[in-house]
């Protein structure tokens, strides 16, 4: 690879996205620094590498090196090696189930020695994204036939189930993000509607008693059937949907009682407002909301948040990092951070759409969708509108595995984008 070539690549790289990336990493570093319980004069240096924020600085620098190394690789590499990358990540997911370290109830970590450890589920995301992109680009299916849908679902499903087994429902849930690229490539919108319908019915199942819910479903189904009585096919599927919907309600109830663990049940009940429990499971959420709420419009100032300083929010530097932002920077800070994310997501979609190759486009959608799921679920749980699912806030939460996996995820796409004029 000549110098001229590499110059050309760097010139084509979308620098705006890289700037947002650096901005978000900086936000992360600053807030992780603030989340350290107390800053005594001895270790208050911004570069104390024994502390979380010191380590995060290393991760960020290493992440940048990693990212720019990816930019130096050949764009064809990702398409060609995608089955291998996928295979390795799946292998790691199997290994972690056998030799993994149990942290916080989930067997999700592989120890690397020296205090560093790896979370394979983070890396499974771009592995899956690569293979999905490769599969869809290989023959351009329009997702009209069941076979291609089933195969894409298999690519998505294997890591999902392996992560479920850890058990880490939160990370597994993120794999549903792959429905967006599939939708973009032709998967019927009904799948998304059915998916949405399942969530609505799931929530309704908890809030409305069956003797009210079932008549409502029957009534809606009835009206639909009546209106389409001429079109036999539509009428027929409407009847099926109604019956399936009612059956689904019972399945949810039974699954809820038999499958979910008590702590998962409690989390769901807390979110739906069926239970109030300030000292137990709800503690995180209440303290996080207090922290964010106490920030008010302009925040309490850097290092001035009492909730943050005095350790009232558990897991603050990792999953609940957003509470620090909310407390110390207020609504203004939250607005800026969410604005940055939204800008990044919209830009990624636009970048994806300008790709010539299907592979790059699908991969771009995968990146945007995964980031979207993480941001929405993470911030949503910090402000109490989504159940507590332990997944990190991309680029901001403390942790090497998550930062690097998001970096790889993003920079592969930036590489593909910079090469959009070439052919893969």
């Amino acid at each position: 690879m000549s110098t001229q070539q590499s110059n050309r690549f760097f010139f084509n790289v979308d620098w705006i996205t890289i700037l947002i990336y650096i901005a978000l990493c900086t936000v992360g570093y600053v807030n992780i620094y603030a989340s350290v319980p107390s800053h005594s004069s001895a270790d208050s240096s911004m570069f104390n590498f024994g502390s979380n924020y010191g380590k995060q600085l290393i991760y960020v620098i290493a992440g940048l090196v990693l990212g720019f190394s990816i930019l130096l690789l050949d764009a064809k590499f990702f398409s060609v090696f995608s089955p291998i990358v996928y295979g390795v990540t799946v292998l790691l997911l199997i290994i972690v189930l056998i030799v993994g370290r149990n942290v916080g109830g989930n067997q999700a970590w592989i120890s690397l020695g020296g205090g560093f450890r790896l979370q394979p589920s983070e890396f499974a995301k771009f592995g899956t994204a690569l293979l999905l992109a490769r599969y869809i680009s290989s023959f351009s299916p329009k997702f009209r036939d069941l076979k291609s849908i089933a195969f894409a679902a298999l690519i998505m499903g294997i890591p999902l189930i392996l992560i479920m087994l850890q058990p880490d429902a939160g990370s597994a849930l993120v794999f549903l993000a792959f429905m967006f690229p599939m939708y973009r490539e032709g998967l019927s919108g009904y799948f998304l509607l059915i998916f949405l319908g399942m969530i609505v019915l799931f929530v309704a199942d908890f809030l409305v008693p069956l003797q009210i819910l079932i008549p409502i479903i029957l009534a809606i189904g009835g009206i639909f059937v009546y209106q389409n009585k001429r079109k036999q096919k539509v009428m027929f599927s409407a009847i099926i949907v109604t019956i399936v919907a009612i059956a689904y309600l019972f399945v949810v109830r039974i699954a809820y009682e038999k499958v979910l663990k008590p702590h998962q049940r409690t989390r769901i009940e807390l979110i739906l407002g069926l239970k109030i429990d300030p000292k137990g499971v709800g503690y995180n959420v209440i303290q996080s909301k207090i922290a964010i709420g106490s920030g008010q419009l302009t925040g309490r100032g850097f290092l001035q948040g009492t909730q943050t300083k005095y350790g009232y929010v558990p897991a603050q530097s990792t999953d609940f990092i957003f509470s620090t932002i909310g407390e110390e920077w207020g609504f203004v800070g939250c607005f800026v951070v969410i604005g940055l994310y939204l800008f990044l997501l919209l830009r990624l979609i636009n970048l994806a759409e300008r790709q010539r190759s299907t592979f790059s486009r699908v991969y771009g959608y995968c990146v945007a969708s995964i980031l979207f799921f993480h941001v929405f679920i993470n911030i949503g749980m910090a402000i109490g509108i989504v159940p507590v699912i332990g997944i990190p806030l991309p680029f901001i939460s403390y942790g090497g595995s998550s930062l690097w996996s998001f970096t790889i995820l993003l920079f592969i796409f930036l590489k593909l984008d910079s090469n959009r004029m070439g052919f893969i």
Binding site: G293, G311, E353, F372, I383
Partner: protein, 662 residues
């Protein structure tokens, strides 16, 4: 690629909608609601209070009436409690395990992490044995505070008492008081609460999630140290207060003494009283209930709450108003045939003196004379013989003396007394009434009631020859000797100074002339002026009343004494007044009178308990706080009166009887 390209907008639209949902929720919890901000404050901020010592109350010569004594509250932080020998702790602080569990539960309910009171007011000796072993009871610690202590056990009604604040107190104070604080509930403790309580100190501490203190909030900018309550110099004279309480021991009644020139209350005795030390300490609640149930209501503050007809002690007012209005002069004589008769009304007089003028009329407490003056006042020509207008005029004049309304003493619970206007009688007698209808008012009977304080105050006004200063209990607050302006203002009673001479002459004779009603109470070397009263009591024996002042020139003390159910004013009330006056002016009682003082102290004059429904279980306390002697007397159904009268020179009791009403 038709519609598939458009799906981009659906995906991007979804991103935007979800972002707006997040921002909307954030806006609500951060900007719209301040609930979370307040929760964050209460998470980290703990206020630790230090309690100030309550102000000391002194008598007028700066002798201590009430002071502070340290006690120790056992505190607990339930979260810090680890396993320990409960039985041992119970034994040390003298409670049983049931109480222990109850206390602990109460503390736990209050807060898991904040200290709360486990057991209140441990004595010094309990504290000493506890402090050695305290290390064995993790989570417990001792906080010292002070309680009231009364060295002489006197002046309970005057001083009042303090008590733990009630929820209503907390509400009314708008958050100043907190559970466990003490507040003045009656007497000086209540009326001077804000001066006495001092200022609580507060340390604002920050605590982290593990309840570890993290230093002070805002570098102690909002911290304050406790400021002790202000010292109060009261007007009371401990010597005569003590003597008064002893003299009224085993009797029901009041003594009020006022310094006329200043309006300062020198003695304030209400009997039966109680030992103020009972209202302190862990038994306060029980003692209070016992006192509440006691016969003769020991908690009543009789000097400002007791209603008595002024009786004959009202007669100087008749004369003074008569003189001021010009309906009589000091030489005007009326004929006393032994009664005063108008229409069907006959007011009896105990003696037949024939023509009688002012000076003698007062000295002998002549009812007829008083009635004639009253008749003249209400039939003055200037009112065109409209007796109702004349009555209202008279009532206004009487009110100037502080009757019929509260005087505004700095004690809570003062009552107004009774004095009605013409409208009241017009309503009652359907317009057909005149002076003869209300003639009993002339001799201080009928529909007129005064508190002992009001009676003493009248004497102060006479002693001052025309004005009084609002009676008050406190000479100065704090070291700067602050006193309220209203307590130096002269209140004029509407009678010119020149009219007082003859009236004071009459009152001097009442105590000093051979024909006076209180001559038995004459003090050698002091000219006391006074007036006896024997007040009809619809519920039993007459009350014995004496009001007066001394010395005649430049008076130093005005006094009112009421002994309930003791009969003639010259027998009990007048001697008591004379002893107190003598003690106050000469600092000791003449040796030849000391026997009589002791005799007086021994007298037991108590009303029969009104049909003993419940046998009083509680020890009733007399003024000096010794319960035993009284206990016996309560159990006896008959009112006892020892009959070994000492050598009182003139026991020929001249009784004023009257039957004003038909």
């Amino acid at each position: 690629m038709d519609n598939l390209f458009n799906r981009k907008y659906i995906v991007q639209g979804l991103f935007i909608v979800v972002s707006l949902i997040l921002l909307g929720t954030l806006f609500y919890i951060q900007v719209f609601s301040d609930k979370y901000f307040l929760s964050a404050e209460s998470n980290v901020l703990r206020k630790l209070y230090t309690f100030p010592a309550r102000g000391v109350i002194l008598d007028r010569h700066e002798k201590i009436l009430v002071q502070n004594e340290p006690v120790y509250d056992l505190m607990v932080i339930p979260n810090d409690v680890k396993e320990f020998d409960t039985l041992e702790l119970c034994k040390i602080i003298d409670i049983d395990t049931v109480k222990f569990r109850k206390n602990f539960k109460k503390a736990l309910n209050q807060s898991r992490y904040q200290p709360s009171i486990f057991e209140k007011q441990l004595s010094v000796s309990i504290y000493q044995s506890l402090s050695e072993k305290l290390y064995r009871f993790p989570g417990f610690f001792v906080q010292s505070r002070t309680i009231r202590q009364y060295p002489d056990s006197i002046a309970s009604h005057f001083l009042g008492y303090i008590k733990e604040v009630s929820p209503t107190d907390i509400e009314r104070s708008e958050g100043y008081y907190r559970p466990g604080d003490y507040i003045g509930k009656s007497g000086v403790e209540k009326s001077y609460e804000t001066a006495l309580r001092g200022e609580r100190g507060v340390v604002n501490m920050l605590y982290d999630a593990h309840n570890v203190p993290k230093g002070s909030y805002a570098e102690g900018k909002f911290d304050t140290s406790a400021v002790s309550g202000e010292q109060l110099i009261s007007s009371l004279d401990i010597r005569i207060q003590k003597l008064g309480e002893e003299l009224l021991k085993n009797k029901v009644g009041s003594i009020v003494a006022i310094e006329p020139a200043t309006g300062e209350v020198l003695a304030f005795v209400s009997s039966p009283g109680y030992d103020p030390n009972l209202m302190v300490g862990r038994q306060q609640g029980n003692n209070y209930m016992d006192l509440l149930k006691s016969p003769n209501r020991a908690l009543n503050i009789r000097p400002i709450q007791g209603y008595y007809s002024p009786g004959s002690s009202f007669k100087p007012l008749d004369a003074l108003i008569g003189l001021q209005e010009g309906v009589i002069d000091e030489n005007t004589t009326f004929n006393c045939p032994g009664y005063f008769k108008v229409g069907n009304h006959t007011t009896k007089c105990e003696h037949v003196d024939g023509d009688i003028a002012l000076r003698k009329g007062l000295a002998r407490s002549c009812n007829t004379y008083a009635c004639y003056v009253f008749q003249k006042l209400l039939t003055q020509k200037k009112f065109n013989r409209n007796q109702k207008v004349a009555y209202d005029y008279w009532q206004k004049k009487v009110k100037l003396w502080g009757l019929g309304d509260t005087l505004g003493i700095d004690l809570p619970g003062e009552r107004r007394g009774r004095l009605y206007d013409a409208a009241y009688y017009s309503k009652k007698y359907s317009k057909y009434w005149g002076y003869s209808t209300v003639i009993s008012l002339a001799i201080g009977q009928g529909e007129m009631d005064a508190t002992p304080l009001q009676m003493a105050n009248i004497m102060a006004a006479i002693a001052n020859k025309g004005y009084y200063i609002k009676p008050h209990l406190v000479k100065s607050i704090g070291k700067n000797h602050v006193i309220k302006k209203e307590f130096v203002k002269k209140n004029y009673v509407g009678v010119d100074a020149r009219h007082f001479g003859p009236v004071i002459d009459g009152m001097q004779d009442a105590v000093n002339a051979p024909w006076g009603t209180a001559v038995a109470s004459r003090i050698d070397g002091i000219i006391m002026c006074g007036k006896t009263g024997t007040v009809q009591n619809p519920r039993g024996k007459n009350h014995s009343v004496f009001i007066g002042f001394a010395p005649r020139d430049n008076p130093k003390i005005a006094i009112a004494v009421i002994v309930e159910n003791a009969g003639f004013g010259g027998t009990y009330a007048a001697p008591i007044a004379s002893y107190i006056t003598e003690k106050y002016l000469k600092d000791s009682i003449a040796p030849n009178r000391r026997d009589r003082v002791e005799w007086m102290k021994r007298q037991i004059i108590l009303p029969a308990p009104p049909k003993p429904k419940v046998k009083p279980k509680a020890a009733i306390l007399d003024s000096a706080g010794k319960a035993d002697s009284l206990k016996k007397s309560i159990n006896s159904a008959e009112p006892k009166k020892t009959t070994d009268l000492p050598n009182i020179k003139n026991p020929t009791l001249i009784k004023n009887e009257h039957s004003a009403k038909q």
